[in-house]
């Protein structure tokens, strides 16, 4: 078990930490900076879909409806916390 824990910690840590050491030694061109600045939005996209359909694995539409409600609540300018509560309530009501 100790071996598994140490191994998992190490292979998770190394990819996280390497960029902290290398960015100061590298000078990126403009297009690379634009690429890296777009990464957060791309990551958000990739993290949301298709994963959201697995909220209730046998009923993918439940996650999708929860997501649409979240989009609506965020669009009218609600705080992230309220968006989260709204989506949880939606899924809860749909699965009663």
């Amino acid at each position: 078990m100790v071996l598994i824990l140490l191994g998992m910690a190490l292979v998770t840590m190394v990819p996280r930490v390497i960029p902290a050491f290398i960015v100061d030694k590298l000078q990126f061109r403009d297009w690379v900076n634009r690429w890296l600045n777009a990464i957060p939005y791309a990551a958000l996209g990739a993290l949301i879909f298709p994963g959201i359909m697995t909220v209730k694995p046998d009923q993918p539409h439940i996650g999708l409806i929860g997501g649409i409600v979240a989009i609506g609540l965020a669009y009218i300018g609600l705080n992230v916390i309220l968006v989260v509560f709204g989506a949880i309530a939606t899924v809860f009501l749909l699965t009663i």
Partner: protein, 243 residues
């Protein structure tokens, strides 16, 4: 604290930064607690001791890979197999860290190093969308407070899950499974409202991820490719100044 009167004003801004960081980390806490509890319960059922399952949260701090690890331990997979699968699943953090650290260029390594250690999907997403703080002198304190809020709620939730067992009714915990997705959406939409091109970047990443998943790629690589290729569209869509 060997400070004099002059540093009083600075002290206050440091405190404000920490408060701001905790506030920004609060939605992550909300999303982490139910998931961490579930992790604790499952890990206990898989036969892990309370110490081991809490230690995994302390040392690894990466939700999806911990669930996978617990599953693999439960079915008796080998250590090497588990470690390689963890690497593949968590490699996406390299891409995210590169993006975040590029924002923190002006910051000293003794700050960048601990901040990079605490990078998860969620802490990255929230930090990256608070890019103004990266330019401020006490910005690192903001990110540190945000990350520690997330970190300690993850550890506390795992421990509680291991102690209490099935505390949350299944239906409620299942409903809470949408929490982090909703948080990601709640982070993305305000940016998209300001600049619709960002939606194109996100949608391209979604489609690439969905295609790769469809073709049977592991979810770890699918997210890495979706993020890298989706981000590539930003080369053409983003202007230099854009957050």
């Amino acid at each position: 604290m060997a400070t004099d009167v002059v540093s009083n004003a600075e002290q206050k801004t440091a405190k404000e930064m920490i408060h701001k960081g905790i506030a920004a980390g609060f939605p992550i806490m909300l999303g982490y607690l139910p998931i961490a509890l579930t992790y604790g319960v499952l890990a206990k059922q898989a036969g892990m001791s309370l110490i081991d399952l809490t230690l995994m949260s302390v040392m690894v701090f990466a939700g999806a890979s911990q669930f996978m690890g617990v599953n693999m331990i439960a079915v008796g997979a080998g250590a090497l197999e588990i470690i390689i699968a963890t690497f593949v699943l968590n490699f996406r953090h390299f891409v995210m860290s590169l993006s975040f650290m590029n924002r923190l260029r002006g910051v000293k390594l003794r700050w960048k190093f601990p901040l990079s250690l605490g990078l998860t999907d969620e802490t990255f997403a929230v930090s990256a969308l608070h890019s103004e703080e990266a330019k401020q002198e006490r910005g690192p304190l903001f990110y540190l407070a945000l990350i520690l809020t997330a970190y300690f709620s993850w550890i506390a939730g795992s421990f509680l899950g291991g102690v209490l067992g099935e505390v949350i009714p299944a239906q409620l915990s299942q409903s809470m499974g949408i929490a982090l997705y909703a948080m990601f959406i709640g982070l993305l939409i305000p940016s998209v409202k300001k600049e619709w091109k960002l939606a194109i970047i996100a949608v391209i990443a979604m489609l690439i991820n969905a295609l790769c998943t469809e073709w049977g790629m592991s979810s770890g690589w699918a997210i890495v490719l979706g993020t890298i290729i989706g981000g590539m569209s930003g080369i053409f869509l983003m202007r230099e100044e854009e957050a």
